[in-house]
C-alpha cells in the first residue's frame, strides 16, 4: 500500500471539489509536527463523568507543573468494542501519544514497534520503579522490559446479597469451591439463583475463568510462554466446576457478552456474582440490595486476576515520547492516585499511595473496596503476549461449548488448545 492509493485519493478528492470537504477532519499528524511546546493527545475509555472531571483537573495540574507540555484528552467509549479499531488505527500509524487501555495488549503493540519502551526513561527521569507493585509492573512487560505504565489497578471478587445470605442462614462467606457450591444451593429458591454465571465468548468471561484455572493449580502457558497449558487436569476441573453450577441449577447465565452488568444482582434475582471494585459508586446509589464482597473462593490456591489499565506511549517524536512518559510518571504519584482511586473505586498502583493515611481512611469507610485491595496479594496477570486475543477467543469458545452442553469440558479445552497453539506459533 502504496504509492497507488496515495496517488489516487487526492484526485478523488479534487474531483469532488469543495462540496465534500467542508466537514473533513483535522489530522492529528498536523498537531504532532509542531515544534516548541509539546502537544500530546491522550485517549481514554473512562466511563464515569466524575472521573472524567477529575482527570481534566489533574491534567491541568500536570500542565502547570510541566510548562511547555499540553495534553488534550478524548474519550473513546467502551473499551471492549473500541479496542479492535484502536489496534488497527495504530497499525496505520495514526495513534494518540498516550492510550489508556488494558496492559494485556502490551506484547502486540511492542512487537510491532508501535509503542515506546517505558523502561528506557526510568533512569533519566529518576523514576522509582520499585514504588509500583511489582505484579502490576509485570503486566506491562514484554521480553523482560517494562513497556507500558500502570495507570490504575483492579481485580475480581464476589459480590453478595447480604439479605439473601441471612435468609439462607449463611454467616461466613464461602472460602472454597466446595463451600461455594453448597452455599449456592442454599441460596437458590424459586426465582432466585445462587450465582450469576458470566457467559459469552469474549474477554470478560475468559478473564473470570482464568482465576479458576489458577485456583485449581493450572496455567495458561508454560513458563517459557511457548506452549499453551490450559488443556490440563486443572483446566478441565475449573470448567467442570462451572458446568456443575449450571447443571445443578444453582446458577443462571448473565447477559450474553455483557455479564459485567449488574441488573440481576441489583434486582435480587441472583445472590452472588463475580465483579470488580469499580462499581462501588453505582452500588452506593441503589438502595434495593444490601451488598458486600468477599474474596474469590480457593481450590488448591487462592487467586484473582489483576486488571486495570496502563498508559501506552506511542512512537512519535523523541520530545513527545519523553513528555508522554513524564505524564505517565505523574499518574503513578500519590498526588494523582489517591484522588483518582477514591473517586472511581479503582485500586492504587503504588504502595505509597495505598499506605497513605488518606487512602487508609477511605478503606476503613469502604470495607467493600478493602476486599479487593487485599486480594491483590494473590493476583496474577494475563500474559501480555501478542497472541493473547486469539488464545482468549479460543478459550471463550470452549467455555460456551461446555456450558451450553455442546461439548464436554475435556473435548472443548482440547480443541481450544490446538487452535491457541497454532495462534501462538504463528505469532512468534
Amino acid at each position: 500500500m502504496t504509492q497507488r492509493t496515495r496517488w489516487f485519493a487526492p484526485i478523488a478528492l479534487a474531483s469532488l471539489g469543495s462540496m465534500v470537504l467542508a466537514g473533513c477532519g483535522t489530522s492529528q499528524a498536523a498537531a504532532k509536527s509542531s515544534t516548541g511546546p509539546v502537544s500530546l493527545t491522550f485517549e481514554e475509555g473512562v466511563q464515569s463523568p466524575q472521573t472524567q472531571t477529575y482527570l481534566q483537573k489533574q491534567i491541568a495540574a500536570f500542565e502547570k507543573s510541566h510548562p511547555g507540555i499540553h495534553i488534550s484528552m478524548q474519550n473513546y467509549g467502551a473499551a471492549d468494542s473500541e479496542l479492535p479499531k484502536l489496534e488497527s488505527a495504530v497499525a496505520a500509524h495514526d495513534p494518540p501519544n498516550l492510550l489508556w487501555i488494558a496492559p494485556a495488549y502490551t506484547g502486540q503493540f511492542a512487537s510491532s514497534d508501535a509503542i515506546v519502551e517505558a523502561q528506557k526513561y526510568f533512569k533519566s527521569t529518576n523514576f522509582q520503579a520499585s514504588s509500583i507493585f511489582s505484579g502490576l509492573l509485570q503486566t506491562g512487560e514484554y521480553q523482560g522490559k517494562v513497556w507500558t505504565m500502570p495507570f490504575d489497578a483492579n481485580d475480581l471478587g464476589v459480590y453478595y446479597n447480604k439479605k439473601l445470605f441471612a435468609k439462607a442462614g449463611i454467616t461466613t462467606p464461602p472460602a472454597t469451591w466446595t463451600q461455594f457450591l453448597a452455599d449456592a444451593k442454599k441460596l437458590t429458591s424459586n426465582g432466585t439463583y445462587g450465582f450469576e454465571m458470566p457467559i459469552g465468548n469474549q474477554e470478560w468471561t475468559v478473564w473470570i475463568w482464568e482465576t479458576l484455572l489458577w485456583q485449581a493449580g493450572g496455567h495458561l502457558l508454560n513458563s517459557s510462554q511457548t506452549k499453551v497449558a490450559f488443556d490440563s487436569p486443572a483446566g478441565i476441573k475449573a470448567l467442570e466446576f462451572w458446568n456443575t453450577l449450571m447443571k445443578d441449577h444453582v446458577a443462571t447465565f448473565g447477559p450474553l457478552n455483557d455479564s459485567y452488568q449488574l441488573g440481576a444482582f441489583e434486582s435480587g434475582k441472583v445472590a452472588m456474582t463475580i465483579n470488580g471494585p469499580w462499581n462501588v459508586a453505582a452500588l452506593q446509589q441503589q438502595h434495593a440490595v444490601s451488598y458486600g464482597a468477599f474474596p474469590l473462593p480457593k481450590d488448591k490456591i487462592a487467586a484473582t486476576n489483576i486488571g486495570g489499565e496502563s498508559l501506552f506511549i506511542f512512537n512519535t517524536t523523541p520530545a513527545q515520547d519523553k513528555a508522554a512518559f513524564l505524564f505517565a510518571k505523574y499518574v503513578t504519584t500519590p498526588a494523582f492516585q489517591i484522588g483518582y482511586d477514591t473517586g472511581s473505586g479503582y485500586l492504587p498502583v503504588s504502595k505509597t499511595a495505598q499506605d497513605s493515611a488518606q487512602y487508609q481512611a477511605y478503606l476503613k469507610k469502604n470495607p467493600f473496596i478493602n476486599v479487593f485491595v487485599k486480594a491483590m496479594a494473590v493476583g496474577k496477570a494475563r500474559p501480555p503476549i501478542p497472541a493473547y486475543p486469539q488464545i482468549s477467543a479460543d478459550i471463550g469458545n470452549a467455555i460456551e461449548n461446555t456450558l451450553y452442553g455442546r461439548m464436554s469440558a475435556t473435548a472443548a479445552l482440547h480443541q481450544a488448545s490446538v487452535q491457541a497453539q497454532q495462534a501462538l506459533d504463528a505469532s512468534s
Binding site: 500500500m1 479492535p84 457467559i199 447465565f253 469458545n397 460456551e400 451450553y404 487452535q419 505469532s427
Partner: protein, 293 residues
C-alpha cells in the same frame, strides 16, 4: 453544436468523480482483498509475507468454519424465502380495494424505515425472559426464557426479526409489479372461467410477476448476505457462535482476532459468491426495457 471529440471530453469530465470514486472505493478494495487473502498479516505488523493459499487452508480448518457456513446458508434462505412470500402476500392484500389498505401499507412498511440497531434492540427486549414473546408463548404453556441467549432459538429469532423488517420492502416492490398488470387480463381470465382466487393467482398474477420476482430475489439475497448490524446488536454472533454468519465472522477475524489474512480469505469467498449474483443483476439492469422509455 459541440463536436464529437469535444463531447467526449465533456463525458469524461462528467464521469470522472463517479469513476474515480468507484475505482478507489469498490474495484481497488476488491483487488486488494484478493491480494491480501494470499498474505499473512496480523493487522499491525509492517510486513505481510506471501503465503499462497495457506490462509484459506487455516480458515477451512477453523473448528467453527463449517458452522459459520451453515449459519450463513440458514440465515440467507431463512430470511429471503419468508420475507418474499410475506411481502407478496401483503402486496396482494394491499392491492385490493379494501378499507384501511393505505394504513396496512404504512404499517407493514414502517419496520423497513427504522435502523437495524433500533429494531434489533427492540427485539432483544421483546425476546428477553419475562418479555413479550415469553409471555405470549406462556399462553401456550411454553416458557422459552431469553430467546437471544439460547443457542437453539437465537438464529431463528434473528431471522424472524429480519423478516419482520424486510417484508414491507418486498411488498412495495411487488405492489409496483402488480400495478403493471392490466385489469383487463383478469377480466379476460374471468370470462374463461378462472374465477377462484388461487387459480387466478397461479395462471395470471404469478407468471406476470416473474420479472419483479427475479429482482426481488436478487436484492434480498444481497441484503441478507450483508446482514451485520442486527447480529452485532442482538447476539454478538453467539451464543456458542450460533448466529455467526460469514460477514460477522469476517469482522471478528480481522478486528477481534487480528487475523487479517484469514479475514481477507473469508471476504474473497463471499466475493466469489456474490459475483455470481452480479451477473444476474447486470442482466436485469441492462435489459431492453431500461434502455429507453
Amino acid at each position: 453544436m459541440v463536436g464529437q471529440r469535444r463531447l467526449r471530453w465533456w463525458a469524461a469530465l462528467f464521469l470522472a468523480p463517479a469513476v474515480i470514486l468507484t475505482a478507489v472505493f469498490f474495484y481497488y478494495p476488491m483487488a486488494y482483498i484478493l491480494w491480501l487473502s494470499m498474505h499473512h498479516w496480523n493487522g499491525l505488523s509492517p510486513v505481510k509475507p506471501f503465503t499462497g493459499l495457506a490462509e484459506f487452508r487455516h480458515l477451512f480448518q477453523q473448528p467453527i468454519f463449517g458452522l459459520v457456513i451453515r449459519n450463513t446458508v440458514i440465515f440467507v434462505v431463512g430470511t429471503v424465502v419468508p420475507s418474499i412470500t410475506i411481502g407478496l402476500g401483503l402486496a396482494l392484500l394491499a392491492n385490493r380495494r379494501l378499507p384501511f389498505r393505505s394504513f396496512l401499507r404504512g404499517v407493514s412498511f414502517a419496520p423497513y424505515l427504522v435502523s437495524f440497531v433500533s429494531a434489533g434492540l427492540a427485539w432483544v427486549w421483546m425476546g428477553s425472559s419475562g418479555g413479550l414473546f415469553d409471555h405470549l408463548m406462556g399462553f401456550l404453556g411454553f416458557h422459552p426464557g431469553n430467546l437471544v441467549d439460547n443457542p437453539s432459538y437465537a438464529l431463528p429469532y434473528v431471522i424472524a426479526m429480519y423478516t419482520w423488517k424486510m417484508a414491507g420492502y418486498n411488498m412495495v416492490l411487488y405492489l409496483a409489479g402488480l400495478q403493471t398488470i392490466p385489469r383487463e387480463i383478469y377480466e379476460a381470465g374471468a370470462i374463461d372461467g378462472l374465477q377462484d382466487g388461487w387459480t387466478q393467482f397461479r395462471t395470471i398474477t404469478w407468471p406476470l410477476l416473474a420479472e419483479s420476482t427475479f429482482f426481488v430475489v436478487i436484492i434480498n439475497l444481497i441484503f441478507s448476505f450483508r446482514a451485520f448490524s442486527a447480529i452485532y446488536v442482538m447476539t454478538n454472533g453467539g451464543p456458542v457462535n450460533s448466529t455467526t454468519t460469514l460477514v460477522y465472522y469476517i469482522w471478528n477475524l480481522a478486528f477481534v482476532q487480528n487475523s487479517w489474512g484469514q479475514a481477507a480469505a473469508a471476504s474473497a469467498l463471499l466475493l466469489i459468491v456474490v459475483l455470481a449474483l452480479t451477473i444476474g443483476m447486470v442482466r436485469y439492469f441492462t435489459k431492453e426495457s431500461f434502455r429507453a422509455s
